[in-house]
Amino acid sequence: MDVKVTPPSEPFPGTVHPTDGGGILLSTLDDVINWARSNSLWPLVFGTSCCAIEMMSTAAAKYDFSRFGFEVARATPRQADVIIIAGTIVNKMAPVLKRLFDQMPDPKYVIAMGACATSGGPFFYNTYSVVKGADHIIPVDVYVAGCPPRPEALLHALITLQEKIKSGATRDQIRIEMKDNGK
């Protein structure tokens, strides 16, 4: 019997060795887990200001980030994998953001959306209450430029995050590797 193996649109990590009646897949468990993880990232509904509207646009009909597996926006951090910091973080909000991040289960990822979350943006000079970049509070994986970024830019950031996860070079994995190597 001939088995036709149609290549999936997104290549599965590993190599297939054809044999009679099928094939043998060789892969590493880490790669498979990362592959699965990257395609089902649930974002946390977290928007403080203008960028939140563009995040909503990205979720809505025209741009639709559920095409990439970001479908299920969660209202609680306990069920979320990725936090998209959409908007300015001020001193009063900083402990709340830290707490939300701490409540998220591992592995967790952070996208800093827009100029405010990246560096304070337009509110960098002469303000007494703005945190100059969300990375002062929590570690950030992907930065997006723009004030606010276009939905395409956010989609690009989400895809970049997926690639980062697939490559196995996420923060936690690098840290574990360094520990194993005694560094």
Partner: protein, 371 residues
């Protein structure tokens, strides 16, 4: 932070809604005292997005400070910019070319439509209906595309400058707006059919969040929140600015004083905005789009107060000038701040489930409240 739930001696429970909560439309924090399921006390705790815009403006020039206001009430960014530009122009006694006035009013009304659409989608989503969110954003994207073609941005436009507008409108602008109006007129009927006439929706909205006319005035409510209680407070009618005095439109007033009245005011306002756009779109005069102004703007010494009608109510910009290139003090009288102060009055005695409906119809934009 007051994160823990605590019960006091009267059997009342104090809970926190926000700052991270899907129904607060941002980072509003409400301390709610509950007796059973009934709200007995509500206290807003603001400042989770207080970006010190007023302090920043004291060190920005009169051309620069306008851009911070786009980030204040980002859903009516054109109208915010309009208020600041008007203030500077009034103080400098700059005459605006008529073409610029037409463009400004058209852009403001398009912004109002976009803002009301987003409110409609988000409010319906708060009440548990997810599809209106997608319908509203579908039409809103068309407005965003029109804006983008002319202003180069989708949300924070920074298009109005002292003396006019920054660039001329795109050649496609008139045609695309006309196409949009045709599309939108058919869609708004759909909105009405889907949500307004829905029995479940009406049952949830009627007779909640009642605020009388006197109370609405005393709490300083403006915009659709006050007009739902029969308070005539449309700045475009009462203190007409720009070319609003030459435009035919009605101030929408409802007298039900409840959340459903406020809902109806906003829906009817969309029809009025369409009416304004239809009147102006064919009559944009030829000519300059920007008056000649000095490169460095210096305001004369004195105090200047300008008010405009945003999608949420009356925005006031109070500029105190010492004669320099930067303002001495700027105060933004934001509509959301005063509307929020009436929230406790509206919610008291209602069930906690109604809180979401009342807040949804208030259309709060938190950066506008905190500034």
């Amino acid at each position: 932070m007051f994160e823990q739930v605590s019960a006091n001696n009267n059997g009342e429970l104090v809970i926190n809604v926000g700052p991270q909560h899907p129904a607060t439309h941002g980072v509003l924090h409400l301390l709610i005292t509950l007796h059973g399921e009934t709200v007995t006390k509500l206290e807003p705790n603001l400042g989770y997005i207080h970006r010190s815009i007023e302090k920043m403006c004291e060190s920005l020039s009169y051309r620069q400070f306008i851009y911070t206001t786009s980030r204040m009430d980002y859903l009516s960014s054109h109208i915010n910019n309009h208020a600041c530009a008007l203030g500077v122009e009034k103080a400098m006694q700059i005459e605006i070319p008529e073409r610029a006035e037409y463009i400004r009013v058209l852009m403001s009304e398009l912004t109002r439509l976009a803002s009301h659409q987003l409110w409609w989608g988000a409010m319906a989503m708060d009440l548990g209906a997810l599809s209106p969110f997608f319908y509203a954003f579908r039409e809103r994207e068309v407005i965003n595309d029109i804006m983008e073609e002319t202003c180069g941005a989708r949300l924070t436009m920074n298009y109005f400058v002292p003396g006019g507008v920054m660039y001329d409108i795109h050649p496609n602008f008139v045609k695309r707006v006309k196409d949009f109006i045709v599309l939108f007129k058919s869609k708004i009927a759909e909105y009405d059919e889907l949500v307004t006439g829905n029995v479940i929706f009406q049952n949830r909205m009627k007779n909640i969040g009642i605020i009388s006319k006197e109370d609405a005035i005393s709490y300083g409510c403006t915009g659709p929140t006050a007009r739902g209680s029969g308070v005539s407070c449309d700045v475009r009618k009462n203190y007409p600015y720009s070319i609003y005095k030459n435009v035919q439109f009605d101030e929408v007033l409802e007298y039900g004083c409840d959340a459903f009245s406020r809902y109806q005011v906003r829906i009817k306002e969309m029809y009025q905005s369409v009416r304004i756009i239809e009147q102006l779109i064919d009559q944009i005069p030829e000519g300059e789009f920007q008056a000649k102004t000095k490169a460095v703007i210096k305001l004369p010494k004195g105090e200047f107060y300008t008010r405009v009608e945003t999608a949420r109510g009356e925005l006031g910009v109070y500029i105190v000038s010492e004669g320099g290139t930067t303002p001495y003090r700027i105060k933004f009288r934001s509509p959301g701040f005063s509307n929020l102060s009436a929230l406790e009055h509206m919610v008291k005695g209602h069930k906690i489930g109604d809180l979401v409906a009342i807040m949804g119809v208030l259309d709060l934009v938190i950066p506008d409240i905190d500034r």
